[in-house]
Assembly symmetry: D2
Homo-oligomer: 166 residues x 4
């Protein structure tokens, strides 16, 4: 199983990234194979035809499980993350990928954003959106047990969806 | 595999029901085991504690695959359907159920309602929302091939999620 | 200015109602002229053609300001409320009405539901949705100052929209 | 009345821009005072502290009416547009601005995106979101009359909201 983490925080090595890596481990039992910090893809995100971005898209499309994580800006995912998601082919760009939408924020009042705003974009790209959107409080996710709960509940579903066909 | 169809159309034997039964067949390869016309549950839908409604909830909760279908009213699912969904336990009421959100409408402009409005309710109930929302045009679904396409694309996912664990 | 409160709580005289009446006062400076408890409209909500429901629809459609309030069920408005909203004419049923979407819940994590799920239904009915969705915590709204803040911010907008044309 | 058009299309002088300028005229009766093509703000959109972006934010915040327009990417607004919206102050960045959400797409099936995905971001920024989201078909908006209809219906509301207080 190939696992990739996509981080849409403009700041590198953010707590969003830390949360996303923990989610990937909770769902798959091991470290993510790839971590894509969208900000590393640079100004070409505003254009088309960049080889580095194409490679990142291929990494995601070739993964079995992808954790897509964003801080919460204006009650939804960041524009930075969306500039990357805009590079995928509609309807098929994440075909066959189990995608876990994760958002990190400073207060609970935007908790529905992961399910209501980020997950539908992944569904539009053809991902298998079997898991609910997971919202994490920036100040608490390391100790509040929510990532562990999510892993316990959904790792078996990920396992069914990603293991080799019998 | 136990398959159930839930129909939220105030009119019995509606085209919504016909569409939902076709979707269930396309996803499972056979007729649905149960069809729940929410309108048959009667005025007790506005109250609590009715045995017939509790039995219908149990039927859904005990199914492997549930097709939840609604006509499109005011750009979303019907109030009738939601009165039934309100009877499930939050977060766990559809635990372990693969739920396919289906909406039927008279024009394409409300097509996103299945993904953006109906599917999040099923996710909130704990369902496995692996499949994208499916919107069908009332006048065309019998011949436009969309149900077949949906079945071809997503039946293998349903199969993985619902077969007995190895 | 005619002000109406619509309450979608299955329980009469709920805290949802209390909150909605306070919002109406904060926005208009006086008591609501009409309070419609949807549950009072009875089992005819599941059917069509009831005179009492038609009168309630007319009351709303003839109001300048309507506060539409619901408890939070399954991360959105109640099915009960939607059965009433389903009785309005699409696109025009709330034409000319300033509609304030209010939801009351037990925890902050569903706070976005007022803006993301209830308000779009009111927009679909043709209402003037100038005000943001307001989510209130059931245990705190009487003392947390959020209703007063909402009134201070948005009463001037309501006043502009509802006063007689010059 | 100061009117500004914001265009979130990565391609300059797009049909999105043409549509947005027509909407601004239909709502205000005259040409927009400012047109901001987000792509012109350049790579600094991915960072913070750029003077040109700050000036563009100030132009929007100082406007009475803003038409925010995007092509439809992955069933919602572009990442490009969101990188600009992310630069506004949350809750207050568009305080006092009447914001019209406009999306342009190639087919009707994403029509709800303007109301369900773009408008809530504007509400989160504190804008007065009195007008419904307007979705336009790229191939038809110049002749299908929808912009005129929108103007006839909503220009009086814009006028009430933006004229000098009596």
């Amino acid at each position: 199983m190939v696992t990739t983490v996509v981080v849409g925080n403009p700041k590198r090595n953010s707590r969003t990234r830390a949360a996303a890596e923990r989610v990937a481990e909770a769902l798959s039992g091991r470290h993510a194979d790839h971590v894509i910090e969208v900000i590393d893809l640079g100004p070409a995100l505003l254009e088309w035809g960049d080889a580095g971005i194409a490679a990142a898209v291929d990494t995601v499309a070739g993964s079995d499980l992808v954790v897509i994580a964003s801080p919460t800006y204006k009650a939804t995912y960041t524009g930075l993350l969306k500039t990357f998601l805009d590079k995928f082919a509609g309807a098929t760009g994440m075909h066959g990928v189990v995608a876990a939408p994760v958002m990190v924020g400073g207060a609970w009042d935007h908790a529905l954003a992961a399910e209501l705003t980020l997950k539908p974009v992944l569904a539009e790209l053809g991902a298998t959106t079997a898991l609910p959107g997971l919202f994490l409080l920036e100040s608490e996710f390391e100790s509040d047990g929510r990532i562990d709960d999510y892993g316990r509940r959904w790792a078996p579903v990920v396992e069914r969806l990603t293991r080799a066909a019998p």
